[in-house]
Each structure stands twice: as structure tokens, then as C-alpha cells.
């Protein structure tokens, strides 16, 4: 059973301009899937509909076999938003503890402190998030996901803005999640990262899913993910 089943997702913000049109895909257990697309292609809208933050206007979404608005579905997946809008009035530890209570998992303070240390945030676990820099907030999101270890983690451009060392570490940790049979959806413009990490790539443009294939196959066909994307964007049929 796929950990995420999206069937015919359709969404429009004002009833006239369609942002997503009949988007269908599955995410299987133990795979890392890249989500690509230019700005305004519908990536963030797609993620928000998956998490029921936007009302589904057509189609269906199931998370770990549960209807996406159900409590069971909420427990199955974790969303790391593209912004760094975290509760600044909590300390890193309080934030992690709160997530643990919501996910009904045991938050190991030592493991959390160790991850903070690994991500160059040693000694900051008990500080208010308000005092964290932009990069640290993003790293706090990543650390939380690594602690919660949900069947599905969707990362919406969270990796943009973190330093190289943290990025390297994240790649290693995400691979470990995959090895444990968990899935990750990685929404990013970093083609090289996806070529290294993603098993499969979904390419979204103008609300349509234009590609859903194994990364290796796409790289073999187009030379690289960058060539796939730029080739599509420059194509005659896409120009206004």
C-alpha cells in the first residue's frame, strides 16, 4: 500500500484559474521522491492539499491508507513548510516536545540534543526559537522530522537556506530514513541534490504533472534533471 495516494487532485484559488489539474501520483514506502517545478507551478498548493490545509476541490488523498483529513492521516505524515514561521515563543526543546505529544512519540532529549549538536546548534536546544537565525529555524524543522520519524515526511524547500555542512548531513539522514522504510518528498530546485538522493521525480508545471519517472531514467533520457526542466520550459508549446 502506498504511503501517499493522490488521485485526480484539482484546485483553483478563485474558481477560474486552475492551479492543479487532475494530479495523480503515489509515494511508496521507502522511497525519496523529488518534486520539481517552476514558481507558481502548484507545488506548495499540492502539498497543502495533501495535508488538508487547503480544501480539496476534486480528487482524493490518502495518507498511509487513511483519508487525508482524518486524525490517523495526520499522525502518519510530517510537513516542513517552506517558510521559517515556527512558534518563536517556544524553545527548541519545547517545540520538539510539543510535536512529540501531538505525534504520540517518545521524544528522547539526548537524541534531540545530539542532533542539535550535529547540525551545529549545540547549546541552543533550550533557547527561544525567536533567537534562532533563519538557517537555524530550518535546521530545527529538519531535526524535528528526524526525531519524529513519520512514515512520510514532506519537505517544502526547507533545505534552501541551510549551510553546506547541514545539507550534507541532511542527505545522510534522509537516506537513513529511506533505509528504514520511510518515505520523503523533497520539494526543491536543487537538481544536483535530487540526482544524488531522489529515487523518483515528479515534475509539475502549470498545475499539470508533466513527468513522473525514476530519476535514473530521466537523467538517462535528458542528460540531467536540469536539462529536463529547462528543455520543457523552453519548449515551443509552453511559450506564451
Amino acid at each position: 500500500m502506498p504511503v501517499l495516494e493522490a488521485k485526480g487532485i484539482t484546485y483553483s484559488y478563485d474558481g477560474f484559474v486552475t492551479v492543479l489539474e487532475d494530479v495523480c501520483f503515489d509515494i511508496n514506502a521507502g522511497e525519496i521522491v523529488g518534486l520539481l517545478g517552476p514558481n507558481g507551478s502548484g507545488k506548495s498548493t499540492l502539498i497543502k492539499t495533501v495535508f488538508d490545509l487547503l480544501e480539496l476541490q476534486g480528487g482524493s488523498v490518502r495518507l498511509d491508507g487513511h483519508e487525508h483529513s482524518s486524525p490517523a492521516a495526520k499522525s502518519a505524515a510530517m510537513y516542513l513548510a517552506s517558510n521559517d514561521y515556527l512558534p518563536q515563543f517556544l524553545t527548541g526543546r519545547e517545540y520538539v516536545d510539543m510535536l512529540a505529544r501531538l505525534y504520540d512519540v517518545e521524544a528522547d532529549p539526548e537524541a534531540a540534543a545530539r542532533l542539535f549538536e550535529m547540525f551545529s546548534m549545540g547549546g541552543r536546544y533550550h533557547d527561544l526559537i525567536e533567537d534562532y537565525s533563519h538557517g537555524m529555524r530550518k535546521k530545527t524543522q529538519l531535526v524535528s522530522a528526524l526525531l519524529m520519524r513519520r512514515p512520510l515526511t514532506i519537505i517544502d524547500e526547507t533545505l534552501n537556506g541551510i549551510d553546506i555542512e547541514a545539507l550534507h548531513l541532511t542527505e545522510r539522514e534522509l537516506t537513513r530514513l529511506r533505509d528504514e522504510g520511510r518515505s520523503v518528498v523533497l520539494c526543491t530546485h536543487d537538481f544536483a541534490l535530487l540526482e544524488r538522493l531522489a529515487d523518483r521525480v515528479l515534475f509539475l508545471d502549470h498545475g499539470l504533472l508533466v513527468a513522473d519517472a525514476d530519476t535514473a531514467v530521466l537523467v538517462e533520457e535528458h542528460g540531467s534533471l536540469a536539462d529536463l526542466v529547462f528543455g520543457h520550459l523552453d519548449a515551443e508549446h509552453r511559450r506564451p
Binding site: Y13, S69, K74, F89, L99, S120, R124, D127, S133, M136
Partner: protein, 505 residues
């Protein structure tokens, strides 16, 4: 629905209130906090003392107390409706704050249920404040014997009215969604609540007459609003408490069941085309206000109040436009990004002028058609229009000042609520003082004008302080950190690669 998860979010919002709202704007200063609490306490204390001396001569008159409690119940229902409406308007504008919970694994119903806790608390505070004077005076004068009667006449009716309104509100919200009116349901619900309030207010006289006539004639007629007193009279206090408990439990269960799976609205601004030649001259501050959903909500409510006052002109209908000033509460926080732009930099007076200009434009935009309608439909009400419009301008200045002193970061309703409470206490104190001193009218006008001048000056000072903090953000943040070190881990950070930029001094 997992109520435990809702409580986790409710606890997070409590921390938001304690750590952000209670430490921003003027509330950063401890003396101001003490002064604010002192002012509220003084107002409540003065009310209780006044009620005590007013009621003392009647202490032995059982019948008068009975009538007083019954009349209180009639007012309680109106008061709770006002509190409910206020709280719903505040929370309808709270989409920005809700984004905080986007990354949390909660269903939309669980998110809504967490907010209901705060809505109920705020409405409870507003409702309770209105009856503090009577409650304290009754307990002091009648002793513990007053407690059951206060429960029956004030506390239980507050709870039941709130729950009944909540259930009605939530069920109607479901019906509107079912009818495909999800996008405008917020405004429709506010208008329905307002209509209900007007309907009850219009029947207040007859309800009071029915209650007092029955008491004076020693009858125990059934007046629906005082049902609990009627049950006590006929079946005893145990039956009344049982009925209350069962009804409250049923209504709570119904409210939890009816809490809709409502998605957080994603637009704070309306995409109005400001392309016409005249409108093109609008500044970014003007556009921020005129496009904000808060301003449009205020316009709709203001129009409804205007129509209500035209039909039943208890005051000049143009006073309805005072509701527009509600949008001023959010204006300063909403325009913060504009002040970050180097090209927009200017003096604090200039910033204040921009804020006021936008409010005046909004007021003028509504006043013109309203005056025209008034002249056509109720020309008898045109007298006093200038005074009413002047009052609305004063209201806008006060609202902007509250917005600066208690900036509504991410449109959170807590800052607005605290700001309104403190402003109401200060203005209430001023009103009581003016009422007690009974000064000549010209002196009252001068005092009001001086108060407005102080409000304007204070607003400008507030903007100046914010500007200065922003320019010295690095240093200010470091000082904050050292001062508030005990709240978080103060361990040495110097030289650590993990230090945030604000600490690298």
C-alpha cells in the same frame, strides 16, 4: 476528534499569549503592565463601591433583590451576545496566527476546537466584567446567601447563553457550507449575530416589563430569559442546578460535534483593481488598509449597524461608521514591511500621517454614501452628523494608537483584545471622572481634545520607539537576551558556530 491534541495547541497559544503578546508593545515595560492592571482593578473597584452604596439601603428588601437579579439575567443575555460578537470578529481576523499550527499534525476540527477554548475565555472575561460590580456588592451585602442567586441569575445564564450561541453559530456555519457559501460564511455569520443582537435589544424593554410586572404583582410568570429562576421557584434549587448541568453538557457536546472542519482562509487582502486615474494616487499604506479583509469586514458590519440605526435611530446613524476604526487596530502591524523598505523611511510623524490618512479615506468612502442615504431616508437625523463623524475620526485615532501600543503580530486576536481592554479601562476611567466632576461642557470638550492630542503624541512616540528598536535591532536583541536570560538557557555562546547573528556582538 482528539480533544487532547486540541489542548496541546491551546497550551501553545497560551504560551504565545504569555511570551509574545504580554511582552510586546507597551507591555514590554513592567510599570506599564502594573499601571494597566491597576487601571482595570480601579475601574472594577470603583464600580463595586458605587454598587455597594447604591444597594446598601435595600439590603433588607428581599423583593427588590429578586427583581434586581431577574433584571440582571435579562441584561446578561444581551451582554454575552455583545461579547460573543466581539470575540467572533476578532477571531475571524486571526488567519495569520493560525498559520503557526500549519506544521502541526492536527485536523482542522482539532484546530478549531483549540480556538474555541480562547473564544470562550475571552467572552467569559467580557461577560464577567460587566457584572463584577453587582456580584461583589451582593456578596458583601448579603453574604454567602447571595452566591446561589448569583449563580442562578448571572453565572449560569452567561454559560448557557454562550453555549447556545456557539451551537447556533456552528450549526449555521455548517448550513452555509452546505449551501456552497463557504467563502462568505464569516461575514454572513457576523451579520446574523448582529441581527440577533438587534432583535434581542429591541425586545429588551418588553422582557424587562414582563419580569418587573410579575415581580411587583407577586406572580411567577414564565419569562424565557429567566427560566432558571422560574425552575428554582417551582421545583427548587436542586432541579435548577440539574437542568443547568444537563443543558450545559448537551450544548457542549453539540458544540464539539458541530465544530466544522474549516480550512484556514488563505487571503488577507482582496485583489481590488486600483487602476483608475484617481485611485492610482493611493499610497501603499492606503492600499494596505483598503484591500485588507479586516477593513472589509468592518465595512460590512458598519453598514449593517447603519441600517439598524436608520430603522431605529437611538443615536445618529452615522455613529455606525465608528465600527470602521476596528481596522485601525491591525493597521500598524500590517504595514510593518513598508517601514522596512529604505525608500519608505520617514519621520514618525510622517508614518503616523500615512496611517491616519488611510483611515480617513476609508471613513470618507463610507461617509459619503451614508450621508446621502440619511439625507434621503431620514433627513430628521442629519442634525448631529458632524459631531458623529468627529467621533468616528476620534475612534480611528484611538484604534491606531491601540494598534501601535499593542501591535497585532500575525493578526493575533490576543493583542487586540488586551489593547481594547486596557483602552476601555483608561477611557472608562476618564468618562467616570468627567461624570463625577460634572464640569461645564466647554471644559469637557477641551479635556477630550487634550486627551486626543495625548493619544496622537503617544502614537508618534510609539512609532519612534519601534523605529529605533528596528535600527538598533542587533544591540537591542543582545540586551534583551542578557536581561531575559533566565527564561531560556543562558549558557555561554560566545565563539560558538551555532550563535545566531543577533547575538554576535
Amino acid at each position: 476528534m482528539r480533544t487532547g491534541k486540541s489542548l496541546v495547541l491551546a497550551r501553545m497559544l497560551l504560551r504565545f499569549f504569555l511570551r509574545r503578546v504580554a511582552r510586546t508593545g507597551v507591555l514590554r515595560s513592567r510599570p506599564v503592565k502594573v499601571l494597566a492592571v491597576g487601571t482595570v482593578a480601579l475601574i472594577l473597584g470603583a464600580g463595586a463601591v458605587a454598587a455597594y452604596f447604591f444597594l446598601e439601603p435595600m439590603v433588607a428588601q428581599e423583593k427588590v433583590w429578586g427583581l434586581l437579579f431577574e433584571m440582571s439575567t435579562v441584561s446578561v443575555v444581551l451582554w454575552v451576545q455583545i461579547a460573543f460578537l466581539l470575540v467572533k470578529v476578532l477571531f475571524l481576523n486571526a488567519a495569520g496566527m493560525l498559520e503557526l499550527s500549519f506544521q502541526l499534525p492536527l485536523t482542522n476540527r482539532e484546530r478549531a476546537a483549540a480556538l474555541l477554548v480562547y473564544e470562550a475565555t475571552m467572552a467569559g472575561i467580557v461577560s464577567a466584567v460587566g457584572f463584577t460590580s453587582l456580584t461583589v456588592a451582593a456578596v458583601v451585602l448579603l453574604g454567602p446567601a447571595a452566591v446561589p442567586r448569583l449563580l442562578e441569575a448571572i453565572v449560569f445564564p452567561i454559560i448557557l447563553t454562550y453555549l447556545a450561541l456557539s451551537v447556533g453559530y456552528l450549526l449555521l456555519a455548517r448550513v452555509l457550507v452546505w449551501l456552497g457559501l463557504r467563502r462568505i460564511q464569516g461575514i454572513v455569520l457576523i451579520l446574523v449575530l448582529f441581527s440577533l443582537l438587534m432583535l434581542y435589544a429591541s425586545g429588551l424593554g418588553s422582557l424587562s416589563s414582563a419580569a418587573s410586572a410579575a415581580y411587583l404583582a407577586d406572580r411567577t410568570d414564565f419569562v424565557w430569559v429567566a427560566s432558571l429562576a422560574w425552575i428554582t421557584h417551582h421545583y427548587g434549587p436542586v432541579a435548577m442546578v440539574s437542568v443547568f448541568l444537563v443543558t450545559a453538557a448537551l450544548l457542549t457536546a453539540l458544540a464539539l460535534w458541530a465544530t466544522p472542519s474549516q480550512h484556514v482562509p488563505h487571503s488577507r487582502y482582496l485583489n481590488l483593481p486600483f487602476d483608475w486615474p484617481l485611485v492610482r494616487r493611493l499610497s501603499a499604506y492606503d492600499r494596505c488598509l483598503l484591500r485588507s479583509s479586516q477593513a472589509w469586514l468592518a465595512m460590512v458590519v458598519s453598514a449593517a449597524v447603519f441600517v439598524g440605526l436608520c430603522l431605529d435611530p437611538v443615536v445618529n446613524p452615522l455613529w455606525a461608521l465608528a465600527v470602521l476604526s476596528m481596522s485601525g487596530l491591525y493597521q500598524f502591524a500590517a504595514t510593518e514591511p513598508l517601514r522596512m523598505l529604505s525608500a519608505q523611511r520617514g519621520t514618525a510623524w510622517r508614518t503616523y500621517g500615512r496611517l491616519v490618512r488611510a483611515q480617513l479615506l476609508l471613513l470618507a468612502g463610507m461617509a459619503l454614501p451614508c450621508v446621502a442615504v440619511l439625507a434621503a431616508a431620514r433627513p430628521d437625523q442629519l442634525g448631529g452628523s458632524l459631531f458623529a463623524l468627529g467621533g468616528c475620526v476620534a475612534g480611528a485615532l484611538v484604534a491606531i494608537s491601540i494598534g501601535i501600543a499593542f501591535p497585532a503580530e500575525h493578526d493575533n486576536p490576543f493583542s487586540v483584545f488586551v489593547g481594547l481592554a486596557v483602552a476601555s479601562a483608561v477611557l472608562g476611567l476618564l468618562g467616570i471622572a468627567l461624570g463625577i466632576l460634572q464640569m461645564p461642557q466647554i471644559l469637557v470638550v477641551l479635556i477630550v481634545a487634550a486627551s486626543l492630542a495625548i493619544i496622537v503624541w503617544y502614537s508618534v512616540q510609539g512609532i519612534r520607539t519601534f523605529d529605533s528598536r528596528r535600527r538598533n535591532e542587533k544591540g537591542a536583541a543582545t540586551r534583551e537576551q542578557h536581561r531575559g536570560g533566565s527564561a531560556v538557557d543562558p549558557r555561554g555562546r560566545s565563539g560558538s558556530a551555532s550563535l545566531s547573528h543577533v547575538l554576535d556582538s
